[in-house]
Symmetry: C2
Subunit: 336 residues, 2 copies
């Protein structure tokens, strides 16, 4: 209340200092303070020094909420992922924020938890903060969500897939082809009874279709498909539930490693190379962990952080190619 609390070094008063308080203390108008913060080159050195001193004295922190309203630029990007825990999407978030944070953009993070209704709510919540772009994993699950984004008039980047009709920009890879590549490899290895384990989210399902189609095209029986609950480790897909199967494609490395641990318990895991494995296992994601276990995990390697960085780039430049296929790589190790 009393003005003694306002003295430098005494700590903050109740309310945060504003531009015009700084201006008053420095003996300039508020626009000059604003310039010192945003375009210091336009301000004479002595004036600038006085203003900077005043900012330090008061512990001034610009209010970007007010700035955003006045300038219609929030310097923020909305990011929507299904989940961030235990997931390769964390790499993507890392990649994009590494690119955006130095440019002064903040990341507003939301999780859909693979729930379409929650996704729509989160999209609306993100948009109401007026981000300058939205980056999401996959594509909106509902028509409502899609409309929301189309009407938003900001760059939208869909990632981790290559949708046929993207809203705007895309940074991902072809999940169908990844499934094809795995099936092709397993067939070439002489495997006969294929199976797929994983979730039934859109991208996992696309992998499954590629995998199945290729197996059928190569004259194999239709592969088994075991849909795992999101919280299951892959080990619940015990070998017992896949009798006769000699090759498994897991929709992600975590499931693959879990499944291998099931195989190990069942004694159907060798320490030798892929050719020695009674059951081949291929994952997707290329977790570091896959190289540390034994046998080492063969996998489809996808660069989650590159997807994030590319998505960030796509939000910044409106022109140029808007559909970036970052590809994938079949990394063969000892498991299959």
């Amino acid at each position: 209340m009393s003005s003694e609390l306002t003295e430098p070094g005494t700590g903050p008063t109740g309310a945060a200092p504003t531009l015009s308080e700084v201006a008053k203390r420095a003996g300039v108008s508020s626009i000059t303070v604003s310039r010192v913060v945003r375009m210091p080159d336009l301000v004479a050195p002595e004036t600038r020094a006085r203003v900077e001193q005043a900012m330090r004295d008061l512990g001034y922190i610009p209010n970007l909420v007010a700035g955003a309203l006045a300038s219609a630029r929030t310097n923020s990007v909305g990011v929507l992922v299904p989940t961030i825990a235990n997931s390769i999407f964390a790499d993507t978030v890392q990649g994009l924020s590494d690119k955006l944070e130095p440019l002064g953009f903040s990341v507003i993070l939301a999780q859909s938890r693979y729930d379409a209704a929650r996704e729509d709510r989160m999209l609306a919540a993100l948009l109401s903060r007026r981000p300058e772009a939205i980056i999401m994993v996959g594509s909106p699950a509902t028509e409502d969500g899609s409309r929301l984004l189309r009407n938003a008039r900001i760059p939208i980047v869909e990632t981790w897939d290559l949708p046929a009709n993207p809203i705007d920009a895309v940074a991902g890879f072809d999940n169908y082809k990844a499934g094809v590549a795995v099936a092709k490899h397993l067939v070439a290895q002489g495997r006969k009874q294929l199976a797929f384990i994983g979730g039934d989210d859109p991208r996992g399902t696309r992998r499954w279709f590629g995998f199945r189609d290729e197996a059928l095209a190569r004259g194999l029986a239709e592969p088994r498909r075991l849909i795992l609950d999101r919280k299951d480790s892959g080990s619940v897909a015990a070998h017992a539930r896949l009798p006769g199967v000699d090759a498994v494609f897991a929709a992600n490395d975590a499931h693959a490693i879990g499944f291998m641990s099931g195989l190990r318990k069942a004694g159907v895991l060798r320490d030798g190379p892929a050719s020695a494995q009674p059951v081949a296992v291929i994952g997707l994601g290329d977790l570091e962990m896959g190289q540390l276990i034994s046998p080492t995990l063969s996998t489809i390697s996808v660069h989650g952080d590159a997807i994030g960085r590319t998505a960030a780039t796509l939000t910044l430049e409106r022109g140029g190619e808007r559909r970036i296929d970052l590809g994938f790589e079949l990394v063969l190790r000892d498991s299959g």
Copy 2:
């Protein structure tokens, strides 16, 4: 430009519709629209229906930036983590946003990358968005960062540790005691030559001190400490670099699993129980992966998501206990 574009169903005009445009269309004042959005009970049903129709027609999305400025409430929380990729902190972010998102709070995420200068910049960047609370992993690395937070006059939650002089609230566990517990267990198991591998961040260092102090107190030689670079997998800490060592505490499970893979290559890993292991290995974090490898990983289990949820709770209620010790648990499996 022309008004035909404004017709319902035709898609958005250049600019997003505002409250007062909705109000005009519904034939009410803007405050009534505002009430329909925020306190619908205060509006008569017929009026409300008319306003809701107008909002739908125009595709109105409230502008929370303006709302935040007017009401001095941003409904956002700043979250600062060292890193989100490949890290247990993702669990914490998941936990806290699961708690906060349903309440209408957005999460503004920033990463310090274990860099003190970047941490300070990120703290300032977060504060300039006027979040209603800040949740961070650990404590500010610098005095500047600390002052920034103390002056911010919002709830601050430090997590993953129990600092002696917290800024405000705390949700974590005692890293020193975790180190003690591991050393105690290894000594009881008859191990003689201990070693510690991990980073030299504040929390890892605290674990090391507890570990070392307890080893010394039990009459053992001072344990070896191998400081790993953040991007190293634990496997670089090959057994070759730790001659004579018969027990290792890794500051996190990823390092532990990496180290075990090194041991496996060196042939010093048994499939039997802990007592059969020439070198005991204990991790920290309790990654699911630890139960899937062989031998299964003994570890200090910490509930990253519970830390996040607790931190969220602490931001919401200003009264009550501000220092929550969520503890840890030594989970003994086959590795040590």
